[in-house]
Symmetry: C2
Subunit: 298 residues, 2 copies
């Protein structure tokens, strides 16, 4: 197909993003973390500002009929989870709301209430918004831009061979409701950044099977995990725990010299599980479907 007539549908979202990114300069002064969970802007006072945009859409990220408060909550909590993945906090958001003309005012008010309640828990606030009208019948679109901060932001790219891999919480089964009610690991991320700084960290949004290879790639390492050790929600197969997505748990790599500090001082009820380690690229045991498939029926 000639490139001049290729459409978005032809190339798909991942290739589109790669294509658009190719327009941009490979680096910007004072900015790191592009392509990471958040962009990191270094400030003169030694702190960092975190910036992130994320959108959710009816029919893709939630089903029609979902409690509108949970829609608003989810949209903001996803961005908060990205801030947590850097060891930072969410402080302010900007909201873009696009919906069809027949959308009920009371539904939008409930979405805003859900956002506001969650923001209040975070100590964050809405500081601006934009509303736009879509065609009749169009699914609602809610895009959240978040601004936050981190003292020592943790990127995905600092992992080293032999670092130990951990995850928080339990994986899998998000469609049972967790994808709407998850608690972003903000306090856990900040505690880690301060007390046992991971060499690399991210939040699990697409499932460990997709996300761990991304962390390893960013760190230019390989990885080995023990799938049977994955912390799973009750009655879930390893396959689900690896691939369900929308866990919004933290995945991080820690220098072996810090594991004792971490495990002795972890102050949270949130479970913490060693799942494996980073390796050299040569020693990697990459995931393949068959790599954990035999656990599916276990």
């Amino acid at each position: 197909m000639p490139s001049s007539t290729r459409t978005c549908a032809d190339i798909g979202e991942d290739e589109l993003i790669a294509s658009l990114s190719s327009i941009l300069p490979s680096s910007s002064p004072g900015v790191t973390g592009i392509g990471d969970d958040c962009a990191v802007i270094s400030r003169e006072d030694g702190t960092s500002t975190l910036l992130k945009v994320d959108a959710i859409q009816e029919g893709v990220h939630y089903f029609p009929g979902t409690d509108p408060k949970l829609i608003g909550r989810k949209a903001v909590a996803r961005v908060a989870s990205d801030m947590a993945a850097m060891g930072g906090s969410l402080d302010h958001i900007l909201v873009t709301l696009a919906c069809s003309p027949e959308t009920l005012e009371k539904e939008l008010l409930s979405i805003y209430e859900g956002m506001q309640q969650f923001l209040a828990e975070c100590g964050a606030s809405i500081v601006g918004g934009e509303t736009t009208s879509l065609a009749p019948g169009a699914p609602l679109l809610l895009s959240i831009s978040g601004e936050g901060k981190a003292l020592k932001p943790i990127l995905r790219s600092g992992g080293q061979a032999d670092d130990i891999l951990y995850v928080t919480g339990e994986l899998g089964g998000s469609l049972d409701g967790h994808h709407l009610t998850f608690q972003p690991r903000i306090e856990e991320g900040q505690w880690l950044s301060k007390n046992a700084p991971p060499s690399a960290m991210m939040d699990l949004s697409d499932g460990l099977a997709q996300d761990l290879p991304r962390l390893a790639k960013a760190s230019q390492t390989g990885y080995q995990i023990a799938p049977e050790k994955l912390p799973r929600k009750p009655h879930l197969s390893i396959h689900h725990a690896m691939t369900d997505g929308e866990d919004y748990e933290l995945l991080f790599a820690l220098s072996p010299s810090l594991t004792q500090t971490l495990e002795q001082h972890w102050p949270f009820d949130t479970p913490l599980t060693r799942i494996g380690r980073l390796t050299t690229i040569e020693d990697s045991t990459p995931f393949t479907q068959t790599g954990w498939q035999h656990f599916t029926d276990s």
Copy 2:
């Protein structure tokens, strides 16, 4: 109509925004300027971060067939103009792009090129983005969240009776192309903030006839202007200069004690025109359609 069944179409954008805003706390610690051109976040080091989101949509903010580079440029330049209106700079943006599946990749690449070229002129950069698919045939939607900074941000709300009103540039006729190619008054706004700080400032996006009353209302003042003194593009009536919108010029109020400094030291080729003054609310001469209508055919 019972409020429980009111739709977005029933109440319109302005009332919807008012309704959604009613959910939010009336103030947030460290934040001013909500409802102003930008939100202003006060930092411990004495500087301020500016945040703003703004969206443009095909068929509303530009016609189908517009050069995609100019679409990208306009989306970003509108946000830059809001930063200018605070006396600040635009530093980083996040992009939400929503389009139909049949949108051509090359069109989106051109939109990004237009954004990137303008950002390079500003010394700013794209640090994140999100793409979303709309229904086939849906008009393209481009939402830009901007982050910037100001040493001494100028709000709309500081105007005093007897302050002198100025505008930059020439007003009206934006549909001749200015609405796509305007130059946000970033350097002018920063110079003003430093050398002759306005008591109140905003950018003209909806036309002076709508925007000046907003500035006066925020400052709890009235206003009097001399419509025949408005700087107009050639061959334009006063009516057009007052109402065309999309001027993206600065409107500001200045203490009479600073007017000499301003007029003697203004270092730009950009025209600068006294158009009137703020007054007490009692002495205001509010705009009415007939207030300048008789100039329409002049």
